[in-house]
Symmetry: C7
Subunit: 75 residues, 7 copies
């Protein structure tokens, strides 16, 4: 099978790369994907927060609780 068979494989492939994480409350975090777990708890480094596409805060390291996430997309 040429395709990845599990969703976490896609996250694994994005490790150490820049990803976009979007939350149920509409906020966006862009940062380097350092780690994640089966709950989709996710840690980004060199992260910045955007609201409606606009940079609001530089956050450095940020732990995002998985159940608040809607999508994760490699940039």
């Amino acid at each position: 099978m040429e395709n990845m068979s599990r969703p976490l494989d896609a996250l694994n492939k994005a490790r150490n790369k820049r990803v976009l994480v979007e939350l149920k409350n509409g906020r966006q975090y862009i940062g380097n994907l350092v780690s994640f777990d089966i709950h989709i708890n996710t840690v980004l480094e060199e992260a910045e927060e955007r609201i409606d596409g606009e940079v609001k805060r530089k956050l450095g390291t940020v732990f995002v609780r998985g159940d608040t996430i809607t999508i994760i997309s490699p940039q």
Copy 2:
């Protein structure tokens, strides 16, 4: 039994095909279904986001957290 007996069979049949994924927040993602798991965490490729039917963003690969999904429909 001629019919599929479990809901995940329908997703399995849609692998590598174009699907529509709709979220509780009203957003729509259209892309090639690469993978999913029992939580309905789902990965699409060549994905685009639509809001109210209008293309908003080209996203490439997107991981969608299962608990935010309402429906998935093969196109």
Copy 3:
């Protein structure tokens, strides 16, 4: 006991029949009930979506995530 004793028995009896599925967000899907599981993840075929009773979309096959469902009623 003449009565069905478990809720899933009622869904089982509705397999291959036309059912109405209503979601927490107010949307309605009408289609042939193909499959369901213990989470009430449900697959309909020849499905159409209604909003406030009005047909909005023909969807063909649709996978509905169980936790978004309020009621299922055979037509």
Copy 4:
């Protein structure tokens, strides 16, 4: 102990009787309680839906997903 000791005993006692089921979205279903399970998934027969106390629809059999229910009260 003269009293019922578990909540599901009260539902069991209401089997085949007319009950009111109220949902988080404010809707009410009145019907004959056919079955329920530990998630409080519930099946009613000869059911009708009321919104703000007014009959909106005759539904026949209706499966109500447990996590959407607030109260069940025998009539």
Copy 5:
């Protein structure tokens, strides 16, 4: 240890006594506490419903689904 050590002990002590049950949707049920379980599913008898402190309905027996409850307080 003179104090009760587990929260369910406080509910147990309130069995057969009049309690106030408040829900996430703001409704209040006052009745005799008949039973509860670890999910805090709760059954009241001789119950009445209040909205904003005003009696709205006499309900007799009422099963309240635990996950919709915010507080329970003996009267």
Copy 6:
């Protein structure tokens, strides 16, 4: 290790002391912390309810369902 290593240790240390419990719906309960469990179901005694900082009700004993709590803070 000089520090407490688990969150429930902090609650344990607050037993029989006055604590503030805040809920997702904005209400505040101040009372003596009698007991809690791993779901953070919590029992207070000599409790009073405040809304926007103002005392609304004297409640005596109150059981607070854990999943409705945002924070607990010793006073």
Copy 7:
């Protein structure tokens, strides 16, 4: 592997350091991270609450229920 492999490692590294905890209801707590568990229940000391960036209350010790948290970021 030079990188941390699990999200909780990032929290562990932040122990005894000043962190920002943000909740689904928009509130922010800044304090010394004393402890956390797998549910992301978190205890801060010398904590203060901010709403829209403004200090509202000095709280001393605060237990934050994990499921109400969106992000945690070391300061």
